[in-house]
């Protein structure tokens, strides 16, 4: 389950930012991905919320600085949701 959600976050990032899956690592961030601006950041967050059926708070949205953090956040939220 864990790795599945992690893979899914990477695919979403690859789709949203228009870079190939191989180029997406935990460290991928607005610094290394050209299209990761504030508009695409919002789209990325919305896509995560949609795919995993969860809602991120403004604080959580702000806290995502790279793909690894996004994946961890999603995993944490999914665990909380499952209780």
């Amino acid at each position: 389950m864990t790795t599945q959600s992690y893979e899914r976050v990477r695919i979403i990032a690859s789709d949203v930012f228009g870079v190939s899956l191989e180029e997406i690592s935990d460290e991928s961030s607005p610094e290394s991905i050209e299209r990761w601006d504030s508009t695409q950041h919002l789209t990325f967050v919305l896509a995560l919320e949609e795919a995993f059926q969860l809602q991120l708070t403004p604080e959580e949205t702000e806290s995502i600085r790279n793909i690894g953090e996004a994946a961890k956040l999603v995993q944490k939220k999914l665990q909380v949701a499952r209780g």
Binding site: V16, T43, A51
Partner: protein
């Protein structure tokens, strides 16, 4: 997810190898699997590479808004591509819509949109009616309603003055819980009532101006659930009020307007029988064993039939394509007590064991419409795939899972939307029934002329008027085959042309012994110097091949001559579909003057030539003189 990844790489390979149709099919398959914001980005980037190789309908859309719509744009463009629409989207500045509408030199008008969506929230336009209602007196509520309507009206007026584009206006939503709680429903001047009053006022104003339409935003929210629709935190931090899972519903709702506005609509829906119009397999279960009726589980199929019946009422033709024994199927169609649809509701039938692709081709030919005007409804994924692969232009409706949801797949489909309903739409099925009689009658005649004479045709040529404006515009947007220039015009544009002194817009109505064919032809001309130019000349496929086109052309030529003009000119602009009109000018004595990449220009010397109205057509002319 695995198959999603595989599909993505397969798509990229297909694009590289130049197989646009194959890539497009996979893209739409992927979209069925995981529609959403992430995939939308992938889809638009791939479709952009394919757009030149595929028959997309282009449409320019401007969004005027009081909230963040950027993530919606990607979703809308992706959903549009899947439905055959290539949207170029302009997004107006945040909350700058009044200035953009009122300033004729704004970026909005420079963009030259085909359609504009005005999406304004209650809390932005009338904040006092959103969360300050408890403070308001009756008088101030009334003043707020009036102010809002006056604003809308001034925007609509200015918009119509500066642009012929369509305008779609979102209604104002009510807050989820009225500021005064259940008290609100007890008063006829409550908060919800005030907002309803604004929306009612908007509706009547939309009707006053041409080409303006209302999007019932409250009912869209209600359809998917008010309590989950909004995301207050994102509204406060990113001005995005709609929660992530619902963005796609807004995009789809917009698409339901954009499809009919761009002319990308189904004219006929071809339906399967077994496990589609009824549950079970007729050949195995027998007429009394199939599921169909008012109770579970047959009610799901009856509900689907009801939805199809509603399409029939809107002028969309129904046809059957089923692998069955003809006699068994006809018996069920005529005698089963649960059937809402009977044989007479179907304009064409192919009940046989043959290939569905071939059957669909035949149905399109029999109904005289393009393959791309067919929608296909079949529970069998194999049949759907075959049709998608062989006939990519057919609009395939995805039916899977619970049969109780089939009815929603039909009702929510953008392919069946219409924004106006003409008398012709309402009577289309009857026209086709009469046409079946006509063509079977035609077989017994010695010569074509005998047949034409036997039809006892009467043609009425009339100037455009308020009653015919919508239909004339609709014909310019929908007619593909017998259409010499394929120029698409909105009602507004037609009405503007008709008001010019050197321009004539006339319609052709045809009646015959089998019935009224309705308004089936349009001619638009412009006079300058000693010449009349035919801007538009089109004929509905319903009456092609019956010489009524000569009657209309004769009218255009003879009125030009009466005005002292010397030449009648017209272009033939070839498209993929208008081959039936290709020889029209040559057959009527025109000679070719010019021929270039776009098409050929033809001229008739009116001093040397007459175009006679065929002797077997009785002509009535009702032209109003322009002052």
């Amino acid at each position: 997810m695995g198959s999603g990844l595989q599909l993505r790489s397969e798509i990229d390979h297909l694009i590289e190898s130049g197989d646009a149709a194959g890539a497009s099919r996979r893209l739409s398959e992927l979209w069925q699997q995981e529609p959403g914001s992430a995939l939308a980005s992938f889809l638009t980037s791939r479709y952009e590479k394919l757009r030149s190789g595929l028959p997309f309908t282009s449409h320019r859309l401007a969004l005027l808004r009081s909230f963040t719509v950027e993530p919606l744009v990607t979703l809308l463009r992706a959903a549009g591509f899947v439905a055959g629409l290539d949207l170029t989207v302009h997004v107006g500045d945040f909350n700058a819509y009044p200035q953009e509408i009122l300033d004729s030199t704004s970026a909005l008008y420079a963009f030259r949109p085909d359609t504009v969506i005005l999406a304004v929230q209650t809390r932005d336009l009338t904040p006092e009616l959103w969360n300050g209602y408890a403070d308001l007196s009756h008088e101030s509520v009334r003043a707020s309603v009036e102010r809002a309507l006056n604003s809308f009206e001034s925007w609509m007026k200015a918009f119509r003055q500066y642009s012929p584009a369509n305008l779609i206006v979102h209604t104002l939503e009510s807050p989820p819980i009225p500021n005064l709680g259940i008290l609100d429903a007890q008063s006829d001047s409550g908060q919800s009532a005030a907002l309803r009053q604004i929306n009612e006022g908007l509706r009547s104003r939309c009707r006053e101006f041409r080409g303006m339409y209302l999007l019932d935003y409250s009912s869209l929210i209600a359809r998917y659930g008010y309590s989950h629709w909004h995301d207050e935190k994102k509204w406060l931090t990113a001005r995005m009020p709609i929660s992530a899972g619902h963005l796609i519903h807004v995009a789809h709702e917009w698409l339901r307007f954009l499809m009919p506005l761009s002319g990308r609509v189904a004219k006929a829906v071809v339906v399967d029988l077994d496990n589609t119009l009824w549950g079970g397999v007729l050949g195995e279960d027998g007429m009394h064993g199939i599921q169909l009726g008012q109770e579970y589980p047959g009610a799901a199929y009856q509900a689907l039939q009801r939805a199809l019946f509603d399409l029939h009422r809107k002028g969309i033709l129904l046809a059957v394509c089923s692998k069955n024994n003809l006699d068994d199927a006809l018996e069920a169609l005529q005698k089963h007590s649960g059937m809402l649809l009977r044989q007479e509701h179907f304009a064409a039938m192919r009940i046989n064991w043959g290939d569905k692709v071939q059957n669909l081709r035949e149905i399109a030919a029999e109904l005289n419409i393009g393959i791309d005007a067919l929608a296909f409804l079949d529970d069998n994924p194999v049949e759907r795939d075959q049709v998608r692969a062989a006939l990519p232009e057919v609009m395939v409706i995805e039916l899977s899972g619970d049969p109780n949801a089939y009815v929603d797949r039909v009702r929510e489909s953008p392919f069946f939307e219409r924004l106006t309903l003409s008398e012709e739409d309402r009577q289309r099925a009857a026209f086709y029934a009469a046409e079946r009689k006509r063509s079977s009658a035609g077989q017994g005649f010695a010569s074509k002329e005998d047949f034409f004479r036997s039809l006892e045709q009467e043609a009425e040529i009339a100037s455009v008027g308020p009653a015919t404006l919508a239909r004339i515009s609709q014909l310019t947007q929908k007619t593909n085959q017998f259409n010499l220039t394929t120029r698409r015009y909105s009602e507004q544009q037609i009405s503007e042309m008709a008001s010019l002194s050197d321009c004539d817009v006339v319609s052709l109505r045809v009646r015959d012994r089998h019935g009224d064919n309705g308004l089936v032809g349009v001619g638009i001309t412009r006079d300058s110097g000693d010449s009349r130019e035919i801007d538009t000349f089109l004929l509905s496929c319903r009456v092609i091949g019956r010489t009524v086109e000569t009657a209309l052309l004769s009218h255009l030529a003879e009125t030009a001559r009466a005005k002292g003009l010397k030449f009648l000119r017209g272009w033939f602009l070839p498209t993929k579909k208008n081959a039936p009109a290709k020889n029209f000018y040559a057959e009527h004595g025109f000679s070719m003057e010019r021929n270039n990449d776009e098409g050929s220009q033809w001229v008739l010397d009116l001093q040397q030539n007459h175009i006679e109205c065929p002797a077997w057509i009785k002509l009535h002319v009702r032209i109003e003189e322009k002052i």
